[in-house]
């Protein structure tokens, strides 16, 4: 076998369509995630899903209201 034949044979090791798609999705999802700040994600959420963002904000506010008195009580019980 000569150089050209071997080079052609090596193309049999190339990834198939599914493998290519899988690698590409993982690479670009990772790049996308690493380039998006947390603030940007929140702003994106507000822009795209205002109701979900409102729900998250409400749960956060209620958690703060409920947990603060529980915290006071817990602190007062400590010796």
């Amino acid at each position: 076998m000569n150089d050209t034949e071997l080079r052609n044979l090596w193309s049999a090791l190339e990834p198939n369509g599914r493998q290519r798609a899988r690698i590409e999705t993982r690479v670009f999802e990772w790049l996308e995630a690493s380039e998006t700040s947390i603030a940007g994600e929140w702003l994106g959420l507000l822009k795209v899903e205002p109701l979900t963002a409102l729900a998250y904000a409400s749960v956060g506010a209620v958690s703060l209201l409920l947990l603060t008195p529980i915290g006071w009580i817990a602190v007062s019980l400590l010796p």
Binding site: D3, A12, I23, W30
Partner: protein
């Protein structure tokens, strides 16, 4: 390049269809048209400046080369997928470190990253090449079944023949035929003398050829 030549021969009315075909091919993951080194360097510059489309073109230009190079050194498609993914991520996030002034082609720089990623994997867990490799888990729905079977047989024969080479020989032939590097580029990567690389390459090429032909004959006799 083939496409460019075809374009020149076509009447102007047909060109939009060729562009459409090209756009759909890229969209559905077909092989990217090979670019000259100057065009690759331009893409690198654009990607460094934050151009995401350029980064994606750069990725598509090189991902198959990385996969077929590391596949010859690893034992499964799954490992080759992981290593390709890690190598491409490392390269795309370190483009600032690539300097064409050192005389290194972008493909050779990328191959260095891929080989280092493969070696890190070897250090973590020493893999052995399987004798037959892996056949595709599911047939490609867009592919021709007869051609797929032929490719699967060729790939199994090649992987089988690769198991019989020394690790260093396997690395050298993978860099030569998977990444299309010349002996000088391979020598620079592996810190060897080019003459030594040529000698090993020639020996490995003969052994691979003989083994693959023997496997083809035995399969032909069995059929």
């Amino acid at each position: 390049m083939i496409l460019t030549a075809t374009m020149a021969a076509l009447p102007s009315a047909a060109r939009p269809f060729v562009w459409l075909f090209n756009a759909l091919s890229v969209l559905f993951g077909a092989d990217a048209e090979a670019l000259e080194e100057a065009a690759v360097l331009k893409l690198v510059e654009q990607a460094r400046a934050g151009d995401r489309a350029a980064r994606q073109r750069l990725y598509r230009q090189h991902v198959q080369r990385v996969f077929r190079t590391v596949r010859g050194m690893l034992r499964s498609d799954a490992e080759a997928e992981d290593v390709t993914q890690d190598a491409m991520l490392t390269a795309l996030t370190s483009l600032d470190r690539y300097s064409p002034r050192s005389g290194t082609r972008f493909a050779a720089w990328l191959t260095t990253i891929a080989v280092n990623t493969t070696r890190r994997r070897f250090r973590r867990r020493r893999p052995e090449l399987t004798a037959t490799g892996e056949l595709p888990e599911v047939a490609d729905p867009a592919g021709d079944p007869a051609a797929d079977l032929d490719v699967a047989r060729q790939r199994a024969a090649l992987l089988q023949a690769l198991t019989e080479l020394e690790p260093r020989e396997r690395e050298i032939v993978s860099l030569r035929y998977g990444s299309d590097l010349n002996a000088t580029e391979i020598a620079a990567q592996l810190r060897m003398e080019p003459a030594n690389v040529r000698k090993i390459l020639e020996r490995a090429r003969v052994r691979l050829g003989e083994r693959i032909e023997a496997l083809a004959k035995s399969r032909g006799a069995a059929a």
